[in-house]
């Protein structure tokens, strides 16, 4: 009978019964230990407990208790242990020193699985402290303890995941994840308990929750640790973002649609430009040909009217070229070809082109370039186009015998500022914001007196910005305008 009792106590006892050396090396491993920790006897004999069943965060504590047990001969405590599959269990441990026949000291310990008791205890604790509060938040709230068991879920969380009241308690939090995330989540969870801090989980990641009925839904989760007398708990606030995801996707689709529409527009403009240039070739070509008198002599009125056809044709051509350039800039197809050149020389060339126009209206054009300015590295052709457009505008909107001044000065941060100033009709402050917009020619008061495409300044701004430049305007009605462009002395690398 005694033998029988001894055998069932040792073999059938559901608690884990271990005997170790005073260093913690395993010399006996009961069937109950195998059932609890999932290791076979053969895998454990001679191994250290620290290596097999003590989680890294508990090693220091486990070693301390082992030393105390050896000194005092007895110990009883609760802690967390790890099973072979990585899952954690709460255990109540009793330890006692024993001696063999030779008098050598060993430690006998029994470990009882109290995971579920612990969940109930934690649940009682947090429910007493937070129960009502958690019911009042709109998010699903789930609290878990260090073994990854859910101790409390508010009704929002239960509804979110499709569980009945109280049904989530005691489950592993991994139950709420699709199977493909579970394995890695266990690792994240133990890392979190090693270094708990408030954070948003999976920020920027697609994170899914799993309902009890097997349906997945996108979630956003934030975590924060909660210290209690019963150890650290983790609070997760879970939000269903199905609606938001749907909205984001709709927005994304809409953006692509808009981009397609924009590139269709640019393609259309490019083709249109080609189609328009073909008949213009005939209009401009024959008008020029006739007005040069090549097919025969003309009288003065015929010459004048042909000149009108020619000017209108050239105006239309300029418009088409501007549209094409704008489309190229907007499509990102405009390439910069930077070279190093002298500002003075470049200015002189543009002035030479504009002077005949200015002279016809008796407008004086002067240019001043600060002597200390070094040669600059920009796309010269586009720089000239900017200056030409500003000068052509200044001459166009200035009355006969007016003045146009160009002033180029160094500016801070390795830049220079070029101002084109006139004493023409000026611009109303409320019109400033429309100035650089396509097809917005300011007409109030001087309608049709000054012809223009309404594209010049929009293009000028784009050509300026393409090279890292900025364009600004100062003006007073009746007293003239000053347009200032500031450029880097060399095109910065982010604008290659």
């Amino acid at each position: 009978m005694t033998e029988f009792l001894e055998s069932i106590l040792l073999v059938e006892n559901p608690d884990a019964i271990l005997v170790t050396t005073t260093e913690g090396r395993i010399v006996h491993w009961s069937n109950g230990a195998k059932a609890m920790f999932l290791y076979d006897k053969t895998e454990t004999l001679g191994r250290l407990m620290d290596d097999l069943i003590v989680p890294p965060e508990q090693i220091a504590e486990a070693e301390k208790i082992l030393r105390e047990t050896v000194e005092s001969g007895f110990s009883t405590y609760e802690s967390i242990r790890r099973r072979k599959d990585g899952s954690l269990v709460y255990v109540a441990i009793s330890g006692k020193t024993v001696r063999d026949k030779q008098g050598e000291v060993f430690v006998l310990s029994t470990k009882k699985d109290v995971t579920h008791l612990k969940v109930l205890r934690d649940a009682k604790l947090v429910e007493a402290r937070f129960g009502n509060l958690l019911e009042s938040t709109p998010d699903g709230i789930i609290m878990a303890n260090a073994t990854g068991r859910i101790v409390l879920a508010n009704s929002q969380a239960e509804k979110l995941f499709g569980y009945k009241r109280g049904e989530m308690r005691g489950q592993l939090v991994e139950t709420l994840l699709p199977a493909r995330y579970r394995r890695s989540h266990v690792g994240h969870r133990s890392n979190y308990f090693a270094q708990p801090r408030a954070r948003a989980m999976g920020a920027g990641l697609e994170l899914n929750g799993l309902r009890k009925d097997g349906m997945e839904f996108p979630v956003e989760i934030s975590l924060s640790p909660l210290e209690t007398d019963e150890g650290t708990l983790v609070i997760s606030a879970v939000r269903d973002i199905t609606e938001r995801k749907r909205f984001e996707r709709a927005l994304h689709d809409k953006n692509i649609e808009l981009q397609n529409a924009a590139s269709a527009k640019n393609r259309f403009l490019a083709n249109m430009s080609h189609e328009l240039r073909t008949p213009l070739n005939g209009i401009i070509g024959f008008a020029e040909f006739l007005s040069d008198g090549k097919p025969g002599p003309l009288n003065d009125r015929q010459k004048e009217y042909l000149g009108d056809i020619l000017n209108s044709g050239r105006h239309l051509l300029q418009l088409i070229n501007d549209v094409l350039d704008l489309a190229k800039v907007e499509a990102g197809k405009m390439e910069l070809k930077p070279d190093t050149f002298s500002l003075r020389a470049s200015l002189d060339e543009v002035c030479a082109v504009i002077k005949p126009l200015a002279q016809r209206k008796g407008i004086q054009v002067t240019a001043r370039v600060a002597a200390e300015l070094p040669p600059v590295t920009l796309d010269q052709q586009k720089f000239k186009q900017v200056l030409y457009n500003l000068l052509a505008n200044a001459v166009k909107f200035t009355d006969d015998r007016g003045r146009v001044e160009i002033d180029v000065q160094p500016a801070p941060d390795q830049r220079f500022a070029m101002t084109v100033k006139d004493n023409g009709i000026g611009i109303k402050p409320e019109d400033f914001h429309r100035l650089f917009t396509e097809f917005e020619q300011l007409e109030s008061g001087h309608a049709r007196r000054y012809e223009g495409t309404g594209l010049g300044l929009a293009l000028t701004r784009k050509l300026t910005e393409l090279q890292g430049g900025v364009i600004t305007v100062q003006s007073e009605v009746g007293h003239g305008s000053a347009f200032t462009v500031t450029f880097p002395l060399a095109i910065p690398p982010e604008h290659p």
């Binding site: 240039r277 005939g282 040909f289 097919p295």
Partner: protein, 126 residues
């Protein structure tokens, strides 16, 4: 300036007339073709110094015709100048690649055209 034998290829009748008239007034012997097929017939029967070639043509396009002429021993020496309203980046490179000796964009500058043509004739050594 000397007279040259020039073929103008353009499917737009007005533009064909404009370029041809300008060159005739300048004293050149000018032939006209409205498409690549008509151009080929003419080239086979007429000795030429230069072709002013529109690129967008119905049927065979101007660049294909250029490649064909530059691949043929008998027509290789004819100077070919592309004349096109395609003023996009890369268009000139495509024309050069096909074998064009020069490239002029529309609208043509009627005052500059005679000198441009003389330069192409001179530089080719024709």
């Amino acid at each position: 300036m000397r007279s040259a034998r020039i073929l103008v290829v353009d499917d737009n009748p007005t533009n064909l007339k404009l370029a041809s008239t300008l060159l005739e007034i300048d004293g050149h012997e000018v032939h006209r073709a409205g498409d690549a097929e008509a151009a080929l017939l003419l080239i086979a029967s007429t000795p030429l110094d230069l072709i002013l070639m529109d690129i967008a043509l119905p049927g065979m396009d101007g660049l294909t015709l250029t490649r064909q002429l530059k691949a043929d021993e008998k027509t290789r020496q004819i100077v070919i100048v592309a004349l096109t309203a395609f003023a996009m980046k890369g268009d000139e490179a495509k024309a050069r690649e096909a074998g064009c000796d020069g490239y002029i964009t529309k609208p043509i500058d009627t005052r500059a055209l005679p000198r441009q043509i003389d330069q192409f004739l001179g530089s080719s050594g024709a």
